[in-house]
Symmetry: C2
Subunit: 250 residues, 2 copies
């Protein structure tokens, strides 16, 4: 009942439909969704219709499809990681108010850094990060923190996989990355100058739960010429504040 003739479950097809929406592709026709999801047109139309009826997708006046608020609501209201985000937000605002560059919170998700929050001011510099967007672990300062404190299997998986270059300065060599991770653990923070964009430097610190396990990375994206120490001091203080606030709630 749950499986189509091609053997994938309805849940799989649902995810393939949702996966066709991206930060830069927020509106599509049902036909485009079907093509991008690899579904026959009739199947795509039926699934899209069901999702629209349920409010998980929405149809605009031009009959184009977008992700519905109901999906966000269901996904958000009972999420554990978003309780972390809610606890972290006041501390992130303080960092943001003082450093005036982007302040971000990321967690490890499927071998990538998933960004739960990003605060930016009108005068903040360049930044590719988006809320609910991802960055590679080996390239972003947040990712380097999550990887450096991640388990052995994760590290070996990333170190043995392809290490793609986002700029000329991204670490693409396993031995160099291994040394970088040791440096992160030794210093207690990650600095990633030009790894994601040549014009900016990422700075990240770990956020730990009450058992000492690193559960998130708190980061700033600075302009390349900005001094790193003031941002690091603010990030460290904010991470301690978040950890205390989480502790009180356990």
């Amino acid at each position: 009942m749950a499986n189509s003739t091609s053997g994938d479950s309805v849940t799989d097809r649902l995810i393939r439909v949702l996966d066709t929406f991206t930060p830069i592709r927020t509106v599509q026709t049902a036909a485009e969704i079907g093509r991008r999801a690899g579904l026959p047109p009739s199947t795509a139309h039926r699934i899209v219709g069901e999702l629209v009826d349920a409010g998980l997708l929405e149809r605009d006046d031009d009959r184009r499809i977008r992700v519905g608020m109901r999906l966000w609501e269901l996904a958000t209201r009972s999420s554990h990681a978003l309780r972390l985000r809610q606890v972290a937000l006041p501390y992130m605002e303080r960092v943001q108010a003082r450093i005036r560059e982007h302040t971000q919170l990321a967690i490890l998700e499927q071998d990538e850094a998933l960004f739960l929050e990003r605060l930016s001011g009108p005068g903040s510099g360049s930044n590719v990060t988006r809320v609910a967007g991802r960055l590679p672990l080996h390239a972003s300062s947040s990712g380097l923190v999550l990887l450096a404190y991640g388990d052995h299997d994760l590290q070996e998986r990333v170190l043995s996989g392809p290490l793609g270059a986002l700029t000329d300065e991204t670490i693409t060599d396993a031995a160099t990355l291994r040394r970088k991770l040791a440096e992160v653990r030794s210093l207690g923070h990650a600095v990633a100058p030009g790894y994601i964009e040549s014009v900016s430097t990422g700075v990240a610190v770990p956020v730990r739960d009450e058992t000492g396990t690193v559960i998130a990375a708190l980061s700033s994206v600075l302009r390349r010429d900005d001094p790193v120490p003031p941002a690091l001091a603010e990030l460290r203080a904010a991470a301690r504040g978040i950890e205390n606030a989480l502790g009180y709630r356990v």
Copy 2:
């Protein structure tokens, strides 16, 4: 193929599963999910298993189930309403820094006020609102704004329906509510003293798109004795800022 023997689609059953999770019920067993979703145990186990495999739900060490980050990511990364939230956030932070009580952003969703964001400080007063939570249109200041500027059908639907009391002061009478909505339109803001909790007063203003349509309500939850005018002035300024920022992006 998409329908079970009981006639509801797989999408419906999926939503019934997701709907069993709430802000205060974030972790459940598969059996509890099945019971609350009205599904036979075998069906519940299969759907939960598929959703776990897909990352939309997650299983913890005790085999209990929670909502997965993948669902949040898919729902958030391409959401239109969350672009509004992202644009609004810096302006909300300014209100929050000055008024030091809760600052909130809500949209109309299925005849209720759905809260996209809530900022609070350590010293902020009582507040029942949650991110991705809802409040009735007739009781919350945000809801009164969304209702007052909503279309005629919406207003008649709410006015003819039951108007539940959250406190002794909630408006529960259609004629009184009709007068209140006229007042909101005339003043350009809503004040809801004690409607949601007797200890607090909600204050809300509309946020409009470039065509003048009200697309959101920006609100503060004040302590009952706090003066309203300073919060109103900050909210109005923030709403103008959000509208300008949205305009530039269109």
